[in-house]
Amino acid sequence: MWQKIREGLNLRIGLTDLVDSSLKEHRVPSDTNIFYTIGIVTLVAYFIMAVTGYFLLMYYVPHTDHAFSSVQNIMTNISFGWLIRMIHIVASNLMVALVFIHLISIFFMGNYKKPREITWLAGGLLLLVTLLFCLSGYLLPWSQRSYWATTIVTNIPTAFPVVGEYLANVLKGGEAISGVTLTRFFSLHVGFLPPVFMAIVGLHIFLVWRIGLSVPPFSKSAEEEKPWTEYSHTTYAESYPFYPHFFMKEVSMVMLLFAIIFFIISFFPTMFIPEAANTPADPFKTPADIKPEWYFLAPYQMMKLIPNKFFGISIQVIAIFTFLFWPFFDTGDEKNIIKRPALMGAFIILLSVWFALTFWGRYS
């Protein structure tokens, strides 16, 4: 039967030819490491979010009177609703971590350099969209933690003089977090961000496919060294087919992602759902110890430490723009970061500061 389907498709769309030309003949460098698979693992994490999010949508009610109880209904009454929500929560946090790891590894390997500047820019934008996903999704359960953590993060724009209050109010739909904010964040989370994310991912994948994977700068087979004067697909000294060689490597990493998700659900189920996340939001009762999610802790702590809040927000905005457009500033030919001690030092210092601020924010 499978044979007949294949023959039928071959006759109509030339399936075998399509697979051969787009997958088997597509080459990847033979010395790729596991960091090269993080991109596709992140994309799978996104699809996990989309599928589980779709099921959550069936029972979630985006209204301040029902949001919390509808989430509790999913957790306790709906068959395997707990599993769907737990996967959604754990995968969302892992997705942020994966995007960070992906970008750090790309930066460390110098793979943002010509001709991959736009690929990097699209990746940076995807990080920002992912954080927006997290910010908007975090409020939806309407718990004490989500309410107050969102209050913290949505107040950060007030650091901008003149337009800051206006920006924060537009984000919140008023002076404080309310039902309007919930509706705005809900529509942003399920209506606006998914197509934006898919469009940027589409561009990102197209560029990776069209230009070809870059090789690690310190690998044995160096990428063909010639000035990039005209487009040509990257060629490699040693390579193997994308399918099935690299494809199976990616499949194994996706399996590992699922194993980690279920490991956390089994043994650390409250890692991302502390007690305050199980208490309905109460705008009149500020919890004693409330913090934003781990990926917002560094900017939050920075804002607390720098007394001049415009200076604090300026540093963050400049950091974001520098990060996004870095390939356009760093245009030298040298890819190997080990041969660039100044850049490597700055990179390690920045990473250390980020980790230090995150831990400081968490335990201060």
Binding site: M255, F258, P307
Partner: protein, 284 residues
């Protein structure tokens, strides 16, 4: 071009930072004083006045006592008992705003009974309540619970030291024994529910049922009628058994969740090993 862009950013920063130097005060006001900065202060005219040096020394400790109380933890503030307007310093003690001040000794049960209705009913019928009504000198709520530093009640409030101030401890001891097992069960279920919360469950239904049962049970012992407490204990035990069974079901559900997700984890961990092996075999 890129150096030009960097220079523009540096120039913008070097101009705006000194200009915005006055933002420090604004930052402290707008950023650190927000509720989420966890440095919020109680904005109450009552607290402000009672902690000032103008207040007689014996009245200055009241806010501190209240801040340590069970009432404070449950958002019961000064005006809930004493009336008045805590948001307006000039009118805070105005009778027009409902200020009643300190109640007379005999009026204390009525004041507390505005919220603790069931307890008031049982208290009035009890020996304590009758003594207060007849002599004006019997024990009122404050005698056992204190005035401002009111703590969450446990069975330990019945003790020889407290009860012997007015009468012998024998009768009170019998009451404590009658309450002991039921009270212990309440505490155990309460602890189990707290554990459930820490495990990511929101046992609202069970918490409400326990609160309801506990409130009725504690209301009952304000009657200080040992025979009545003993006769009604079975009813409360049944209620508590039912709550306990539901809590156990939730624990069983949590155990199932762990087993199920561990099963899935093992499947995917196995798949990971197999896929890794296959991908390596391709390379070889």
């Amino acid at each position: 071009m890129r150096y030009f862009c960097f220079m523009i950013i540096v120039v913008i920063l070097s101009i705006t930072v000194p200009v915005s130097a006055g933002y420090r005060e604004l930052f402290e006001k707008e950023f650190l004083s927000k509720p989420w900065s966890s440095e919020i202060l109680e904005e109450s005219a009552c607290v402000e006045c009672h902690t000032s040096e103008a207040m007689p020394v014996e009245l200055r400790s009241i806010p501190q006592e209240w801040q340590l109380s069970w009432h404070y933890q449950n958002d019961v503030s000064c005006h809930d008992c004493h009336g008045g307007d805590s948001t307006d310093a000039t009118m805070s003690m105005s009778h027009k705003r409902g200020f009643t001040g300190t109640p007379k000794y005999t009026e204390v049960p009525e004041q507390c009974g505005k919220c603790h209705i069931g307890i008031l009913e049982h208290y009035i019928e009890s020996g304590h309540g009758k003594a207060l009504k007849e002599t004006g000198d019997g024990p009122n709520c404050v005698t056992c619970h204190g005035a401002h530093n009111i703590q969450q009640v446990s069975i330990d409030i019945i003790n020889a030291q407290r009860c012997s101030k007015c009468h012998s401890y024998d009768r009170a001891k019998m009451m404590k024994q009658a309450l002991f097992l039921t009270d212990e069960k309440i505490e155990k279920i309460d602890e189990d529910l707290k554990q459930l919360r820490s495990k990511g469950v929101y046992p609202e239904k069970e918490e409400k049922r326990l609160f309801d049962t506990q409130a009725k049970f504690r209301t009952l012992f304000h009657s200080i009628d040992v025979a009545r407490v003993k006769s009604e204990t079975d009813f409360y035990t049944e209620q508590l058994d039912s709550i306990e069974a539901d809590v156990q079901k939730t624990y069983d559900q949590l155990a199932f969740r762990r087993k199920f997700s561990t099963f899935l984890m093992l499947i995917f961990a196995g798949s990971w090993i197999v896929a890794s092996y296959i991908s390596k075999s391709y390379k070889d």
